[in-house]
Symmetry: C2
Subunit: 121 residues, 2 copies
């Protein structure tokens, strides 16, 4: 039997709107999610968990209160729990996010960009 891999390019083609993570896999009680980012997100933090950003295409920046990290395709960063951050991508990018299932995209901030139950693709 031939099992099917998760192909990032195929899955990303199914995502239209930015800042709306889609779940592609379970890893124990974690979710692997794909998202397209474009423009600026909201300042927020996750008090209960670290959050891994792996950039697949394009480039992005994560702003912190005391600085920032610039990320390109082939680079990753783990935002520590409790650290206020604001992801942004001027030219647009695609990322793989890894974090515990149920982690909210807007963290403690809530608001209109909250996606409470991300779709599986």
């Amino acid at each position: 039997m031939q099992y099917t891999p998760l192909r990032f390019r195929e899955k990303l083609a199914m995502i239209r709107e930015p800042w709306s993570p889609k779940i592609i896999a379970n890893l124990n009680d974690y979710h692997c999610k794909l998202a397209k980012l474009k423009g600026e997100f909201v300042w927020h933090k996750h008090d209960e968990t670290d959050e891994a950003f792996i950039v697949l295409e394009g480039s992005m920046k994560i702003d912190f209160r005391d600085g920032s990290v610039a990320l390109m395709a082939g680079e990753m960063y783990v935002v520590p729990r409790g650290v206020l951050h604001k992801p942004c991508s001027e030219s647009g990018c695609s990322v793989l996010l890894i974090e515990p299932a149920g982690t909210l995209n807007t963290g403690d901030a809530g608001g209109e960009r909250l996606v409470e139950n991300p779709e599986w693709i």
Copy 2:
């Protein structure tokens, strides 16, 4: 302050021997590890955890008792807990592994290819 991303290419340049995962990041109580694979590994399973393989360069195959999955760069697969598997890569590849800290590379099999305390790079 400019924070530094984890650059897969830079980190991979520090890895010489195949089948010897190196830790590059903590994600809560998980480890993100880079490894180069070349040739065949040993049959093993992880009874306590799923294991994520994300292929960064090259191609690989994971054999199961009832089939296999072929993976190229830009593809991932989560091997479910308890499932016997044997990773192999004829032409060589680089992978990002995500699994709980302490997960052994040879799982339940032990043996001479066991790397008990992977190095941080």
